[in-house]
Amino acid sequence: MRLQGIAAFALATAISTGCASAGGADLSVFDWSGYEDPGFFASYMAKYGNEAPSYSYFGSQEEAFTKLMSGFTADLAHPCSDAVRKWVAADLIKPLDESKLTNWADMLPEIREVDGIVLDGKLYMLPFEWGNTGLIYRTDKIAADAVSLQLLADPAYAGKIAIPDAASSAYALASLATGNGADYTNLSDEQFKEASDFLRAIHPNMRFYWSDAGQLDQAMTSGEIEMGWAWNQSELNLIWNEVPAAMMRDVDKGIATWVCGYVHLKSSTTPDEQVYDLLNALTDPVSGQYIIDNWGYPHSNAKAFEMADQANIEAYGFSDPKSFFEGSLFFDAVTPELEAKMLAEFERIKAGF
């Protein structure tokens, strides 16, 4: 009897999957988890019967790309600027109509001109949030004036460092450390070799190549590692958990910036109007204020910065966005040939070759 009950329930669930109700939930978003927070799109829900869009989740851009290439469909997806070129090349996304983006004029000017989101004169990604990738270190173990990217190679830190298990991020770090940050997207053979040599030099010090931010946070908190190349989200999480850690925010010493946003998938079936309603809700200053105050992420809308709690902005280290956009390495799509080289070489480096 009990089993029959479960079966009936499961069948009901399965059937209800097939026929989603009309309204806000008609729109499907392929996203990182957590972005289903209703604070991000209050105005959309107000318009569509208080219904949130339906979210499905990925854990990394690569997973998302593989799944989309296998035929998965949705209306919107949430990659970062460095992936856009590949997604366009793979014919997954369609250009956005700037005239329908009501908040376009209020966006941070630097963000509107970010490389990689405009290809052949067409806008493909609407920037939503941005942040840094930088060196996070334990302030109780390493002095602020002593910390540097080169310290990663110091044998004194054997087993005390971690960097991401992602070729593009690793090469961004290595380019900055070898003074070639400006040429990151287009490294010459020599520069590429320098970067690779740097990664080989720090490999013996490596505790692990992190594959998820939680892993890094855990190790940083326990003292397992003392330095790590990581996202600003980790810095926030460490601050919230009162771990003595900070991100090295000195532009001259090397820091990277990323921008992520929403793209309109070719497989989209929902009317454009509804798609744009969500895009506009996401870039609304109110949403921006919410994400800054509650999530600690910098938003793409300039007005949101004015509305948000300035103390938070100061504490989270993005009070001067301009300096990051000018002085930091910007994550942009590297050329396909270079990307392939990076991936292949990084696999060898990780294996100790």
Binding site: I6, A7, F9, Y57, S70, G71, W240, E242, V243
Partner: protein, 261 residues
């Protein structure tokens, strides 16, 4: 008698080994910090209190329970027939068939996952809990077959004949004799296949649409650790509930031996 006592000590040491990691989940579900690491920041019940608000998490749990239940039933049902055929009958190609059923254990998950997505889309099945269930059934089948095969190994064929002889047809015999006699095997198979499905990530990730299963949700949560303690709280409750469920199952199993059939 020195040897048995050594063995007993080992058995308890092994239990500690098995339970040690699991015991930390409840511990950290009371930690006020969001990072799962020592030192513990402070004690709180907030994660349990706020559990009710985590709609996506709760929905993911229901999805996983539903998928797990249907998977367990489908895999066990197919496994039951297959195991019976493998143990009771001899037929050409039997070894090949038995090998084939074990294949899902061998193929790397990522490959099965991506090609299954291609296949299902080709067949016009959009990713959903249905496709996840189909995938999980595939993965759980070898476990069901091997468990039920050993259940049928000990099953005396003349029991079924006795039932026919006493006037029962195929279905009545199946219900009144086969099913109850291999019931422990069926329960084991349902438990194991449910566990396989409940904890499966790779296939679920590829084959789920906008309804994540619990592992898919947890996987993304580990990247964004703010809600991880909620997951730990839920995990602790699940652990407790499953322990209770097993105790109950044990109780009913004991009672069932004396019931009328």
């Amino acid at each position: 008698m020195k040897r048995p006592s050594l063995l007993v000590i080992y058995a308890f040491a092994y239990l500690i080994f098995l339970y040690l990691p699991v015991m930390f989940l409840p511990l950290f579900s009371f930690n006020s910090g969001t990072i799962v690491a020592f030192p513990i920041k402070g004690w709180t019940l907030d994660w349990y209190r706020k559990l009710g608000e985590q709609d996506t998490l709760i929905q993911a749990l229901w999805n996983s329970l539903g998928v797990g239940a249907v998977t367990a039933l489908l895999a066990t049902a197919m496994g039951l027939f297959a195991a019976r055929a493998f143990v009771r009958y001899r037929f050409r190609g039997q070894a090949a068939a038995e090998g084939l059923v074990m294949l899902p254990l061998v193929i790397p998950g990522i490959i099965v996952a991506s090609s299954m997505l291609v296949l299902f889309l080709f067949l016009g099945l959009q990713p959903s809990l249905v496709t996840v269930t189909l995938g999980h059934t595939f993965l759980a089948l070898p476990f069901a077959v091997s468990i039920l095969k050993s259940a049928f190994d000990d099953f005396d064929a003349s029991l079924e004949e006795a039932s026919y002889d006493l006037g029962c047809g195929v279905f009545e015999t199946f219900r009144r004799v086969t099913l109850p006699v291999v019931a422990p095997g069926i329960v084991a198979s349902i438990l194991v296949t449910f566990t396989v499905s409940f904890d499966e990530f790779v296939l679920a990730f590829f084959l789920s649409g906008n309804q994540p299963t619990l592992p898919v949700y947890i996987w993304s949560q580990i990247r964004f650790p703010a809600k991880l303690p909620n997951v730990l709280a839920l995990g602790s409750i699940l652990l407790f509930a499953s322990a209770m469920l097993l105790v109950l199952a044990k109780y009913f199993q004991r009672r069932s031996t004396t019931r009328d059939v």
